[in-house]
């Protein structure tokens, strides 16, 4: 006869309410783990989507995800010329926050290397890839934009031609994919007045130096667009991504690129590592601490609940001892209740999580490994939580059933 089940049945209401309470706590523990997994997954969406073997970034920087990286566009052609590299593309990525429909709209702007990359590899859920090298955008569904919707960014208007799912930046902002040129235009958009002021300032600087005074053409060009000045750089790109030819000697390519004094090269794995350490590591540690604290709190609450349930049963426990029940029967009664509560609370937490986590603003990913690990921890907690109750039960004398 299972005494634990019968006792639970006897005080079902309280047991169910308590289990739901512990379950909600465990749901939060699960959620914390899921948020961390979501952070990692979101952070790696771009790098994995790009599928680059090598990341070439500004010298001595850690790449576009960790800090500002600026490279001249010419690096793309230089990398493409290295033996063993089969494909080199510019990588443009930045985050913007603009106003749209009277609401702030924050997005990660990702440049696609038109015409090689039109976004065919993106996880499209509606619409199509880019069909022209300007004024089209593929937006993630989390941005709340609809197909055909027009978006004013800087001086230009872009039309949403495709929608993706699960494409977010490491900060959780939905990604919008433009051609690299458009992405740069959005990044380096400068109001007309600002351009006029900058040209005037350039002209004043040039006229103050010998170079400007002796070369009249310089003054003339300083008043025009910056692209007319050979000394002034064109819009920079964040990085160059390269794919190696099948069978290529990766070490030889790396050695070759390491010899360049203006760039730093990372493998795809190294870039992911830097990304995680740079942007997610602190959040991961924070979430881990929260999980540990919540797990401990769950353990303490469970222990107190089991202890209270045991206090309510002291008379029946004394009676069991009186009729000669061995200690293992009493230990089994308390421990089984604790384990049943832990297992049910875990189930409640999981079920609630399935309903609630999709409503969270950031992705919550529950992996089987994480769930199994938590289930193991809950089992251990349940056993430990019952020890206080067992200790109390062991101190009950059988004659207390009579008194």
């Amino acid at each position: 006869m299972n005494l634990a089940v019968r006792d639970i049945r006897h005080s079902l209401g309280r047991f169910v309410l308590t289990t739901i309470g512990v379950g909600m706590l465990l749901m939060i523990v699960m959620g914390m783990g899921g948020i961390y997994r979501g952070l990692v997954d979101d952070a790696l969406v771009v790098t994995r989507g790009v599928g680059a073997d090598l990341w070439i970034v500004q010298r001595d920087t850690r790449g576009p995800f960790a800090e500002v990286s600026r490279l001249p566009r010419s690096v793309v052609d230089r990398v493409a010329a290295v033996p063993g590299v089969t494909d080199a593309r510019e990588f443009v990525f930045h985050t913007i926050q603009r106003e749209h429909r009277g609401q702030p709209l924050r997005m990660g702007v990702l440049g696609l290397g038109w015409p090689t990359d039109k976004g065919e590899g993106l996880p499209l859920i509606a619409g199509r890839p880019l069909a022209q090298n300007h004024f089209e955008v593929i937006a993630d569904a989390t941005l709340g934009l609809g197909l055909g919707e027009r978006l004013r960014l800087g001086k230009e208007t872009y039309t949403v031609v495709g929608l993706t799912s699960g494409m977010v930046s490491s900060g959780g902002d939905g990604l919008a994919c433009f051609t690299s040129r458009d992405a740069q235009a959005i990044q380096f958009n400068e109001p007309g007045e600002s351009a006029r002021l900058e040209r005037e300032a350039r002209r004043a600087r040039a006229s103050a130096i010998d170079f400007g005074r002796t070369q009249p053409g310089v003054l003339e060009r300083a008043s025009g667009p910056s692209r007319g000045l050979a000394a002034l750089p064109g819009p920079a790109i964040s990085a160059v991504i390269a794919r190696l030819a099948p069978g290529a000697d990766a070490d030889a390519v790396l050695r070759s690129l390491h010899g360049w004094s203006d760039v730093t090269v990372y493998s795809g794995v190294q870039q992911e590592d830097l990304l995680l350490k740079g942007s997610v590591d602190r959040a991961r540690r924070q979430l881990l601490l929260f999980r540990v604290l919540l797990t401990l709190i769950s353990a303490v609450i469970m222990a107190l609940i089991i202890y209270t349930l045991t206090l309510d049963k002291l008379h029946p426990i004394a009676l069991l001892k009186l009729i000669g029940a061995p200690n293992r029967v009493i230990v089994g009664l308390i421990m089984q209740q604790s384990i049943i509560m832990g297992v049910l609370a875990f189930g409640v937490g999981w079920l609630l999580g399935q309903r609630l986590f999709p409503m969270f603003p950031r992705r919550v990913i529950l992996t089987s490994d994480d769930l199994l690990r938590l289930a193991g921890i809950v089992l251990v907690i349940s056993i430990f939580a019952s020890l206080l109750g067992i200790w109390k039960a062991m101190r009950v004398a059988p004659n207390e059933a009579i008194g």
Partner: protein, 244 residues
């Protein structure tokens, strides 16, 4: 050699505290109960009756003295069986003033658990429990929880539980205190019948002198001293139902 006694005690002494706080609750108590014999134990409150039951029930071992149950010497001075709780569940049945049923088990489960504790398969323990409930007239209430039973029904279930392990010895501490006179007498008669029928010795602590004629033997206890009661006094008490 005759059949072993259901209970034999000698020199049973229980002392609480020590020094100037020492209280002697039981003094050299000796009692012999045959199988099928039912014994009443009378005495005022605080006389040591419950202490005696606790000692022979192996719940609160005596300070010194000897206890043999069913011919097995379970306590002898400082020596005791290694597992008194096991001996208790296999050889002793308890009935107390309050019904003392496990609140989260129904009537039949309260009895069945005793059978399972002594190692009977669940179905046999349940069958035996149902037989006992039927025999005690509460078979129809087998699936009711204790709170759904009347005081008399609860007491019958408790008696059934005390018999579930086919004990050598049944100990009852004021089992009729919560019952009216008629119902109390019925319970006492029930004790006598089951003790006779099951061949168990029974000791019933009671204040109810009206039903003393039901018992085979009557003992009195005062200030921890146990002695057989005078038959004349008992007859007088039975003849005058108001005498207490």
């Amino acid at each position: 050699m005759g059949e072993p006694l259901a209970l034999e005690t000698s020199g049973l002494t229980k002392v609480y505290g020590h020094g100037h706080t020492e209280v002697v609750a039981l003094r050299d108590a000796g009692m012999r109960v045959r199988r099928g014999e039912i014994v009443a134990l009378l005495g005022p409150s605080g006389a040591g009756k419950s202490t005696f039951l606790m000692c022979v029930g192996l719940i609160n071992p005596p300070t010194r003295g000897r206890v043999a149950i069913g011919g097995v010497p379970v306590l002898d001075g400082s020596r005791a069986l290694s597992d008194l709780r096991r001996f208790r569940r296999e050889h002793i049945g308890f009935v107390f003033q309050k019904s003392n049923l496990i609140p989260f088990l129904n009537a039949v489960e309260n009895i069945q658990i005793v059978g399972e504790l002594i190692g009977r398969p669940a179905f046999l323990a349940r069958r035996r429990a149902m037989e006992l409930l039927d025999a005690l007239g509460v078979g129809a209430r087998a699936h009711n929880m204790p709170t759904q039973l009347s005081g008399g029904e609860q007491q019958r279930v408790t008696i059934a539980r005390a018999l579930a392990n086919q004990p050598s010895l049944i100990l009852a501490d004021e089992p009729t205190a919560a019952l009216d006179g008629t119902r109390g007498r019925q319970v006492m008669e029930l004790f006598r019948d089951v003790a006779h029928e099951h061949g168990a010795g029974g000791i019933v602590v009671t204040h109810d002198h009206r039903a003393l004629d039901v018992f085979d033997t009557v003992y009195e206890m005062e200030d921890g001293v146990l002695k057989p009661a005078h038959r004349a006094g008992i007859d007088a008490a039975v003849g005058h139902p108001t005498a207490r």
